[in-house]
């Protein structure tokens, strides 16, 4: 409904602006979809469907009291993602910026969570900012953002010694109000923002049709497990005031000082309730039971601040020394009171029938401090060269205090951890007569891991070269990137690398025609020691990406006709082998100066190795009318 109102508003504005001699463009029509194969996978990856579409809309005009009003919209209608931007200005008085995005997110992956996790949600995001007295010494502003996410889904619930599919209905609403001011007094400028965010979600769950017997067909200790009904309602509200402030000052045009501070204090309150009937079991109370009632109240807090400063000193024109320090402190804490009633509970031997109530009062906390110190020398232009080098040191201290109920097996669930990373980062570029050659190198050295997947050594290298001929007749580019990271501790033995190479070439043999081709190659592999939980033996976890992408295409403009066409193929021979094929063509033809047609053809093909349950071949054809009065 909301989207329909917005689209209607756009069309009304379209009509209103028709008589005005202003830049204007509307492209609207219908898109057809021909889909073969897995609809679930197609919708999870691409999700472009049949229907009406405003492919493009732009207008710029003046109106009473507005020096400039510009509206841009694209892909509104059948989706899956549409956007609207409005900017309006009254010089010296106010400036309005509005952005609206709508997305349909669909997920039903056959090989993920036994294919049982599905959702079909719509997310609508709005950002509005209104600034007063732009370009004055003090520019107050107000802003509002919203982010609504809702829709049905299906999830699973591990309960009573089985997993049951549940129907899910989710409604999330996030609102943010903000107010503040930018300021500029002589060489000092900055901005302060005070915001208030409110997040509210309601999730209702009920047993899915046909899910009574759960995922596990067998009995537990001789007792079949089944559910007659499960209903749950979870409500969460989070209030988050935040403050964001920065100030900069110039000293004689050669030294710039920057100070910043941001603080947020999120306070979450949760209320949850659940009832279930059926035949269930619990190892926690060592009982079978036939009914379950639970209520939970919770409170969690996130208190985070970050502050620091930076100095930028111009040593000679285009050569700067930059140094700074940032500290971030994050404090997470939570408590919950969970009251559970197990109805008709009997021992695993079938004796001692009674209702059992358990009360769990839990508290947990995480404290994290991160200090970052950096110093850099940046020579932005020494003739055709630009060179930059930076040293950075990051230290993280973490203190994790889990509740005892979180700990399945005693071990390293909580405690104090510390990690220091020393980084050297350098890059150099040479640019002259259309030729650009660049190299970048980064080395990270850490003393300790916090997670097992943390590296101790990481090296990144990137080389780039491109050449563009005069008058843009020819352009070619090459990029090579390599990242290696590892942790050579004998019991982790983590080793990973990523290599990517790509090359592209563009040529314009005749006026109006431009040909392009590209080839890219990707190889990534990670390998580390793990412990198998089923038998506690050591093994290795290996993951690989090994892909090659080829793309070719052209654009052509002549008279009333324009064509943009491309075809691409990406083949991955890694751990999840697949082939992606993408073909695209867009042809526009101007029937008259003010009116024309656009034709779009897209084909996306996805083939996984092995059983073809997720493969699809989707062709979309769009026919759009273009209007440029």
């Amino acid at each position: 409904m909301k989207r329909t109102v917005i689209i209607t508003a756009i069309l009304l504005l379209t009509m209103a602006a028709h008589a005005q001699p202003v830049p204007f463009e509307l492209e609207a029509g219908y898109r057809f979809l021909d889909l073969k194969g897995s609809s679930d996978m197609y919708r999870s990856q691409i999700n472009e469907r049949n229907g009406l579409l405003i492919r493009n809309f732009s207008m710029s005009t003046e109106a009473r009291g507005i020096d400039r009003l510009r509206i841009d919209a694209s892909d509104f209608g059948v989706g899956p993602a549409g956007t609207l931007r409005v900017s309006a200005d009254r010089a010296g008085l106010w400036k309005l910026r509005l952005g609206y995005r709508s997305t349909n997110a669909f997920s039903a992956l056959p090989n993920f969570a036994l294919g049982q996790h599905v959702f079909n949600r719509t997310r609508r995001m709005l950002d509005v900012d209104l600034e007063f007295l732009p370009d004055r010494a003090i520019t107050p502003f107000v802003g509002y953002s919203s982010n609504d996410n809702h829709g049905p889904g299906q999830t699973t619930y591990s309960f009573g010694l089985d997993e049951f599919r549940l129907r899910q209905d989710l409604k999330e609403r996030d609102r943010e109000f903000r107010v503040g001011a930018g300021f500029r007094f002589a060489s000092i400028q900055g901005q302060i923002t005070q915001g208030w965010r409110n997040y509210h979600s309601t999730e209702t769950l009920s047993l899915a049709t046909g899910a009574n017997n759960g995922n596990n067909p067998g009995p537990i200790l001789g007792q079949p497990i089944s559910a007659d009904s499960i209903t749950r309602t979870d409500r969460t509200q989070v209030d988050t005031p935040f403050t964001n402030f920065y100030v900069t000052g110039d000293v004689r045009g050669r030294v710039r000082l920057v100070a910043n501070y941001v603080h947020l204090a999120a306070d979450s309150d949760g209320r949850e309730s659940e009832t279930a009937t059926g035949a269930f079991g619990s190892f926690d109370i060592s009982r079978f039971f036939t009914g379950f009632n639970e209520t939970a109240t919770s409170n969690a807090r996130n208190d985070t601040w970050r502050g620091g400063g930076r100095a930028e000193v111009t040593l000679i024109p285009n050569v700067d020394f930059i140094a700074g320090f940032q500290r971030e402190h994050r404090e997470l804490s939570g408590s919950a009171l969970i009251n559970s009633l197990f109805v008709n509970a009997i021992t695993f031997g079938g004796a001692d029938k009674k209702d059992i109530q358990t009360i769990l009062s839990a508290t947990s906390s995480v404290d994290r401090d991160t200090d970052t110190l950096n110093a850099a020398l940046s020579a932005r232009a020494i003739g055709p060269f630009s060179v930059r080098g930076e040293y950075r040191e990051t230290k993280m201290d973490v203190d994790v205090s889990p509740d005892l109920s979180e700990i399945v097996v005693p071990g390293a669930q909580g405690g104090t951890f510390s990690r220091r990373i020393r980084t050297f980062d350098a890059n150099a570029n040479y640019t002259k007569s259309g030729l650009m050659i660049g190299a970048a190198l980064r080395r990270d050295r850490a003393n300790e891991p916090i997670f097992r997947t943390d590296y101790l050594d990481r090296d990144r290298m990137r080389l780039r070269a491109s050449w563009k001929s005069p008058k843009d007749f020819f352009r070619a580019g090459l990029t090579a990137e390599r990242t290696t990271q590892n942790n050579d501790r004998a019991d982790i033995d983590y080793d990973a690398h990523m290599r990517q190479y790509s090359g592209d070439v563009e040529i314009a043999p005749v006026s109006g025609l431009r040909l392009r081709a590209s080839l890219s190659q990707l190889h990534g592999q990670s390998d580390m020691i793990i412990r198998h939980p089923e038998n506690f033996t050591l093994g290795r976890s290996v993951n690989e990406d090994n892909g090659t992408a080829r793309e070719g295409g052209f654009t052509f403009f002549r008279g009333p006709v324009s064509i943009d066409a491309s075809m691409a193929r990406f083949r991955n021979r890694g751990t999840l082998p697949f082939i992606v094929g993408r073909q695209h063509a867009r042809v526009t033809y101007d029937i008259k100066t003010k009116a024309g047609l656009a034709f779009e053809w897209d084909r996306d093909k996805y083939d996984e190795a092995g059983p073809a349950i997720a493969d699809f071949d989707a062709t979309r054809v769009g026919l759009y009318f273009r209007w440029r009065p």
Binding site: S74, N147, I322, G334, A362, V408, S466
Partner: protein
């Protein structure tokens, strides 16, 4: 001239499509000789490259914040990348914001071809170019290098939370990967060969690589309770541990 009337630089200055010469001169310098020379292009300043950016763009746009720097940024005004590499006052792409010379994805691809390839070819990717999502949704092109180029929320959080606000928490039972680490501990931000843009092909791999007890003490390296990961039922840990980002109710993130 008429087209320039709708340019952002002409707001409040162009009247009925008439551009005052002072507006042109604010970037091109004094124009008397140029006019008297019958439009001689050699007699007027044409902003090009680093020098052009320094003398025109940065006279107004040389701002700095805790994230943005025109002196030390990855796209600092340098010999190789300057304002006029990406922006064009007179010949920008009609549908792009901020007077970009081409649509954003095409523009960024000139240098960041590998990253753009990841969005274009991987099956699980943020779909850029449609629906308002662009490279600059998450990165500030004028930001400082590395992580400092990320476009944080107004409350200073990672950009993922701009859209995925439900993952902000806070939760009573935090998943350490998120509370101490970040989204990228488990997810790839651009495009991935793996469902849900996970860093590994199978969910159990993502989990077990951290949750494996060995001699080195690391956060979360306690073993999970007995699970037969050779059984498909236990190869996707999130079938049961649904509340993997955090829970207010279940210590084991079941719900």
């Amino acid at each position: 001239m008429k087209a320039f009337a709708s340019n952002v630089h002409a707001i409040g200055k162009a009247k009925k499509d008439a551009i005052p010469s002072s507006l042109c001169e604010s970037c091109h310098g004094p124009g008397r000789e140029h006019i008297e020379g019958g439009g001689d292009k050699t007699k007027i300043f044409k902003p090009v490259g680093l020098e052009g950016s320094n003398k025109t763009c940065l006279t107004c746009h040389d701002t700095a914040t805790d994230r943005v720097s025109r002196r030390g940024g990855m796209h600092a005004n340098s010999a190789s990348v300057n304002c006029l590499t990406c922006h064009s006052i007179h010949n920008s792409d009609a549908h792009s914001q901020h007077l970009l010379v081409t649509p954003q994805l095409t523009l960024c691809q000139n240098c960041h071809a590998n990253q753009v390839a990841s969005f274009r070819y991987q099956p699980y990717a943020h779909r850029l170019g449609r629906g308002g999502m662009e490279c600059s949704s998450c990165h500030d092109p004028h930001g400082r290098p590395g992580r400092d180029s990320l476009r944080l929320t107004r409350a200073g959080e990672v950009p993922c939370l701009n859209c995925h606000s439900d993952k902000r928490g806070p939760y009573v039972f935090q998943h350490g990967a998120l509370a101490v680490g970040e989204c990228m501990t488990c997810h790839e931000p651009h495009g991935s060969a793996n469902p849900k843009r996970l860093t590994r092909a199978r969910v159990v791999q993502v989990c077990i690589e951290c949750h494996s007890p060995t001699a080195t003490r690391t956060l979360g390296s306690q073993p999970p309770s007995f699970h037969d990961t050779t059984n498909p039922r236990y190869q996707s840990c999130t079938t049961c541990h649904v509340a993997i980002h955090g829970s207010n109710r279940d210590p084991h993130l079941f719900k």
